[in-house]
């Protein structure tokens, strides 16, 4: 999944980005408000982390503009101002949650995961669909209570599909959201990874978790469990 971090403090931004990449996300970084707004509107973003006190353009303005342009992805505010006035203004403008500085980076990743899951319609970080269980906080996939060994890219794909269980996701979207740099858009890499995932999750072809829709993309097809 592709995240956008808009934060003017370089150390903070970079360590946040590093931590998020570690967590399996593709991360775009912007150091000022204008650049941030450009990324937020033009890039395929799944979630934005926005600092409120930015040069060039305030975080609030970015959020308002993003929402006005019809973008619905979750937005997490980073703020040094923890007066309720500022929090309410941010949430009012269209943000979904806030983290007050100085935060622990783990706090941010936890909120990010929760927001992503929420935007996919899941109520808990433990997503269950049939025999398949995905624990976002631990980045763990289990089938019939047996943990499946996955590479980080494989995990990214199954997480992306499962968070959006029931939705059709095109190959292009997957490429855009999962790669850090956009290269070789029409390669068969995605197909290869999907094939490997199918083998790992469903070696006997009994549950068919990932459906292929010809010319349209893929869909996580299992019924959502009680937590969804």
């Amino acid at each position: 999944m592709r995240l956008l971090v808009i934060e003017d403090d370089a150390i903070l931004r970079e360590s946040l980005a590093a931590k998020l990449k570690e967590g399996g996300f593709a991360v775009e970084q912007a150091a000022d408000g204008r650049e941030g707004l450009y990324f937020a509107l033009e890039y395929p973003i799944d979630l934005a982390i926005v600092d409120l006190g930015l040069p060039e353009m305030s975080g609030l303005e970015i959020i308002r503009e993003v929402r006005e342009q019809g973008k619905t992805y979750p937005i997490l505010i980073l703020t040094a101002r923890d007066r309720w006035e500022d929090k309410v203004d941010g949430l009012d403008a269209g943000a979904d949650d806030y983290v007050v500085k100085p935060f622990h980076v783990e706090e941010v990743t936890a909120r990010v995961n929760a927001l992503l899951r929420r935007s996919g319609g899941w109520a808990s970080s433990l997503m269950t669909a049939g025999p398949v269980k995905l624990d976002m906080s631990r980045q763990e996939l289990m089938v019939n209570e047996v943990a499946i060994e996955l590479t980080s890219f494989e995990y990214k794909i199954i997480e992306y599909l499962m968070v959006r269980a029931g939705q059709v996701i095109s190959k292009t979207e997957l490429t855009e959201r999962l790669y850090d740099q956009d290269f070789e858009r029409d390669s068969n890499v995605i197909e290869v990874f999907i094939g490997r995932l199918r083998k790992k999750i469903d070696p006997d072809n009994t549950i068919n978790p990932i459906e292929t829709l010809r010319g349209r993309g893929y869909r996580f097809a299992l019924e959502r469990g009680p937590s969804g």
């Binding site: 903070l12 007066r83 309720w84 009012d92 100085p102």
Partner: protein
């Protein structure tokens, strides 16, 4: 005597009273002395007529005709009396009108001198008397002394004076009343701009108006303009203060966050933990200092009337996002037109912290109730109660929790500091924060702020 209107009215009344008093006394004196003079002249005329009518008799006396020219001498009790006395003081002749009336003898004047006296009859009727002693030349060539005396009752004269005074007082009272009435109307008109300024300042203090309207007479435009400048600078100061604090917060906390992130990369165990602790402490100090109440009671001019229901609705909407997973059921019991007089940041701080805590601790239910502190919804005070169905706060912990910055539960960050901030803000408005048990089963935090 604090009102200009009353001061002016009282001063003008005193002046009027003095002026009219003097006028009344002068007029009364003048009228009275003119009247007395006229009375004396008339009396003198009567005396002369009697003198002219008197004729010496052969017996060495004087006699007067039965009917004098003045008919009042002939009518009994007419109020005009005449008498002629001989040298022994014995009455020689008396007018018919004096029948049964004792004219006071008085003191006989020296010969040839007219003597006016204010005397009274036996029944107390005041009379003005004129006596004249003469040496009458008798036909035999001798001179004999006689005293002529005329007296006129002052009853009708006094009645006239009284009548005059009554009219005088009546007219002057009427004039004074009319003048006072017109002056007070005039004052009302003249002072209307002052009263308007007063009302508008009241409205500013109530938060119903931002500035003075500026439609005042020339003498007051300066005052109004300066007042507006003052209000403006007061607001600007309050805004600047907040912006400064915001910038300070931002420029302090971002490096703190960066330090924390750097530590995290290093992962050096015990050292990192201790460093993090120090960062926590610094953070807490900054947070506490920066979230202090924005407005104090002295800064009346920057306070506004906050629509409580709308502000709480914004908070609840925000909290519903933040507590999306927990989905607490937040119930608001607030009338549409309830207003809190204060700084909107302060209000959000109170309601936000209490609601946030309640959402954190509740099982499922949170309820916020805001009522005006008196019966009047617009008086500006409020009772804000936030209840939840969580574990509640034990009585023995309540006091410690309300102490500045105390944390009861380290695992729920910011719990203590939030309450300390709420308490401080409530107290800056002359109110208080109390911890009680709610009927939902958990804690109920009660902020009561009286009307100012």
């Amino acid at each position: 005597m604090s009102s200009l209107n009353a001061r002016l009215l009282i001063s003008v009344s005193v002046l009027l009273l003095f002026f009219f008093g003097v006028t009344i006394v002068v007029l009364d004196t003048a009228f009275r002395s003119a009247g007395e003079q006229a009375q004396a002249d008339i009396l003198d005329g009567h005396l002369m007529a009697i003198l002219a009518a008197a004729e010496a008799t052969d017996t060495g006396g004087l006699e007067l005709p039965a009917d004098l020219q003045e008919p009042r001498f002939g009518a009994i009790g007419s109020g005009l009396y005449a008498e002629l006395r001989g040298d022994q003081g014995d009455p020689v002749w008396r007018s018919r009108s004096a029948l049964g009336i004792e004219i006071p003898t008085g003191e006989s004047p020296a010969s040839g001198v007219r003597q006016f006296l204010n005397e009274s009859l036996a029944d107390g009727t005041p009379v003005l008397t004129l006596s004249l002693a003469v040496q009458w030349e008798l036909p035999d060539g001798n001179y004999r002394p006689f005293v002529f005396k005329v007296a006129e009752s002052l009853d009708s004269f006094n009645a006239q004076i009284a009548q005059f005074r009554r009219q005088l007082f009546g007219w002057f009272a009427a004039v004074a009343l009319i003048m006072l009435l017109s002056i007070s109307v005039l004052l009302r008109r003249l002072l209307r701009p002052l009263r308007q300024i007063e009302n508008e300042i009241g409205e500013i203090e109530q938060g119903e108006r931002a500035f003075l309207s500026g439609q005042f007479p020339t003498e007051l435009t300066g005052v109004a303009r300066n007042m507006n400048v003052l209000i403006n600078s007061e607001r600007a100061r309050s805004d600047r203060y907040r912006v400064t604090l915001d910038n300070l917060a931002h420029s302090l906390k971002t490096p703190l966050a960066a330090m924390r992130a750097l530590l995290n990369q290093g992962k050096s165990g015990d050292f990192a933990d201790r460093f993090n602790e120090q960062i926590d402490r610094m953070d807490e100090i900054v947070r506490y200092q920066l979230r202090k109440p924005a407005a104090s009671q002295a800064e009346n001019l920057v306070l506004t009337l906050i629509p409580v229901k709308q502000e709480v609705a914004r908070l609840v909407e925000g909290l519903n996002k933040v507590y999306h997973d927990k989905e607490p059921k937040i119930e608001t019991v607030i009338d549409n037109d309830t207003r809190f007089r204060g700084d909107s940041g302060d209000f959000l701080e109170i309601a936000g912290n209490l609601l946030d805590n309640a959402c954190k601790w509740c099982e499922r239910r949170v309820r916020i109730t805001v009522r005006p502190s008196s019966g009047n919804k617009l008086d500006g005070g409020m009772n804000l109660f936030v209840a939840d169905d969580g574990p509640g706060i034990p009585v023995e912990d309540a006091d410690a929790l309300l102490q500045r910055g105390t944390r009861l539960d380290e695992s729920t960050p910011g719990h203590g500091i939030g309450l300390a901030v709420v308490k401080e803000i409530a107290e800056s408005y002359g109110g208080k924060l109390e911890i009680a048990r709610s009927d939902l089963g958990g804690a109920e935090l009660r902020v009561t702020i009286p009307a100012s």
